[in-house]
Symmetry: C2
Subunit: 372 residues, 2 copies
């Protein structure tokens, strides 16, 4: 009898769980939002993840429910738990990925390093925060933002007037002087074991992850250790099960501050598919099934991942694919089966090797075949 | 529009094409023999591969038809070709994998090194062959044998009387004095490019592959070069497209002789999933789609694959899985979703690393958790 994992959400993260599930002999079932999504090969149902009945019916035939995203409402998550379904990560952990204000408060409680922040419900309190922080601040809607959406840099409270008018508090954060962004991934089993991947550097363009370098170059050992400790402490402190990604700022004075959390496989860990002994997708399956975790060590000195964004007209995709493969026989090209639209992540390229310059050049060059 | 590959046969070789198909964005469809087979996740149809109508209907929605096995009859293969379907490998190549007498004759024509052989249709001619070769010979049914089935070592023609009585000639082969068995894999595109994997050592038990060591230890460079040349010459001479495995004897006088051919991914190449830049399953998909081939180089100094045979009672599989994972966080465990039966291949373990002794120990130790 194979172990069965049910994934709510049919996007590329669910899709990339298919390969390790097949290799491990785990039966993967996906509740997709609609037909023809990335993970459609494993889609056993199509339905609304906000509907408790739909998810309860889906959960009946699996050993554990996990997620492609963090958007399943708390009442639906609790209905699953109340029905005796194993849910990983569980609602108590997921609340911190769903609500950035709750996350900031909890991280303060845990003593985690983070930017100054405040909950602001009106223009006066937002303006006060801006005035206290050099005349600028980052304002975020506590819920629903991703890939740069729901985030604004403002220098006057009036620039967030529309969001404030929607009611409910906003998160105001200090605009951090950072030299670069890092990401720390850890995996944690329900029974407690936790492993940390090496901290990586993430390069964002227009608020979207463009490249990842693993491990983060020029990272002193102390910084890598602190990042791993922060990742483990957050996973344990928030009760996260499965993969956790902690997005970090490295500040100009060489501290690290927690930016965002994701409780699922994450773009910053796509390099692990070809560059680590255990990919984040295999690790997530092992963790949510409470199986022993795999070795998170890198397989090579350097791995570089370059996202394929937007992408070409579909009629020429095959030719571009062939050209990229012909130029880079060592590049691992991953695609998500998604219709290309400007700025949409439709795939990525992983390259690993001993020389960072070579690896970076090869990964960018292979990905460049897919640019318009 | 994704490229679509149709695989005839729903066994573990088709199953192991699912992971690279998903990664590459290739749509994989499988014509399975029955429900619940290894590759059922990608099974789009269930039907009889000996029936031309069934395969023609299956072929209608794919860009190329390929195979999990070599048993599709020639008339069905030709019906596909006549209908304009791309079939890789094609019937002209597959005939040599289907008929060992045709294979031996063709390899002689190509000047390939192979054991002495003869086509024998009666006891007298078989006895004459035995007498000419030291009183023993290997007798094979030309068709349908695999994993040691259809093969006998005989010292008198009467020991093959039952097979001779079935009519049709048998293949008699010299019993080769070999020190070990090797396997050479190559991939070839329809448009002609060909790449060779490193020659590997295969360890058989009871006629079934038990372990593979990649690359073959203590293989002089000259021997590895000759093996690669033989593999390429056979792929080109027989017009093979996709993956070709050439099973070889290394003789006591350090020659290599061709034993068997397989025109598909092969057990001797399972190590490539975790030990080569391009796995044989990804390579097969690229080759049959006539895409540029991937780098066949090893990713580490040594890779060892150990088959999981027979396997435990299914009620304890999860516990054994967990124990193997806990002891060997670096071992890659692959299972086929097949009900365990004595001697049946139900999975394999891959381990790679710098030290052959360590790698071998780890792979055997991880696999031993699944033994009764």
């Amino acid at each position: 009898m194979a172990l069965r994992v049910g994934v709510v959400g049919g996007g590329q993260l669910a899709r990339m769980m298919i390969a390790p599930a097949v290799e491990l002999g785990v039966e993967l079932r996906v509740l997709a939002e609609e037909e023809g999504m990335s993970a459609s090969l494993a889609a056993s149902a199509v339905g609304d993840y906000r509907d408790a009945e739909t998810i309860l019916a889906f959960a009946r035939d699996v050993d554990v429910v996990t997620f492609d995203h963090e958007h399943v409402p708390q009442d639906v998550l609790h209905a699953l738990v109340d029905a005796g379904v194993a849910v990983h990560p569980g609602p108590d952990a997921l609340q911190y990925a769903q609500d950035k204000l709750a996350m900031r408060a909890k991280l303060d409680e845990l003593g985690m390093p983070q930017p100054d922040w405040a909950s602001v419900s009106d223009e006066a309190s937002l303006q006060a925060f801006i005035d206290d922080h050099g005349g600028r601040a980052v304002v975020k809607t506590p819920r629903g933002g991703y890939d740069g959406k729901g985030v604004r840099v403002v220098s006057a409270a009036s620039e967030a007037a529309d969001w404030l008018a929607d009611g409910g508090p906003l998160l105001a954060e200090q605009l951090v002087d950072f030299t670069r962004e890092l990401a720390q991934q850890v995996a944690r089993r329900p029974s407690g074991d936790v492993v940390a991947y090496p901290v990586v550097e993430t390069v964002q363009r227009d608020g979207v992850c463009a490249e990842v370098i693993a491990p983060a170059p020029h990272a002193p050992e102390r910084l890598a250790e602190i990042a791993a400790q922060v990742g483990v402490a957050i996973a344990e402190g928030l009760g996260v099960t499965g993969m956790l990604a902690v997005e970090l700022f490295e500040t100009t004075d060489q501290r690290i501050l927690v930016n965002e959390l994701a409780m699922r496989p994450h773009n910053s860990g796509h390099w692990t598919q070809d560059g680590a002994w255990t990919s984040q997708f295999e690790q997530h399956l092992r963790a949510v099934l409470d199986l022993p975790l795999g070795d998170p060590s890198p397989r090579a000195a350097w791995s570089v991942m370059v996202n394929i964004l937007g992408g070409p007209a579909s009629d020429s995709l095959d030719a571009r694919f062939a050209a990229a493969m012909a130029d880079h026989p060592d590049a691992k090209i991953h695609t998500y089966g998604k219709a290309p639209r400007p700025g949409r992540k439709v795939g990525h390229v992983n390259v690993t090797g001993d020389d960072l310059d070579d690896v970076t050049y090869d990964a960018r060059s292979a990905a460049s075949h897919f640019l318009d």
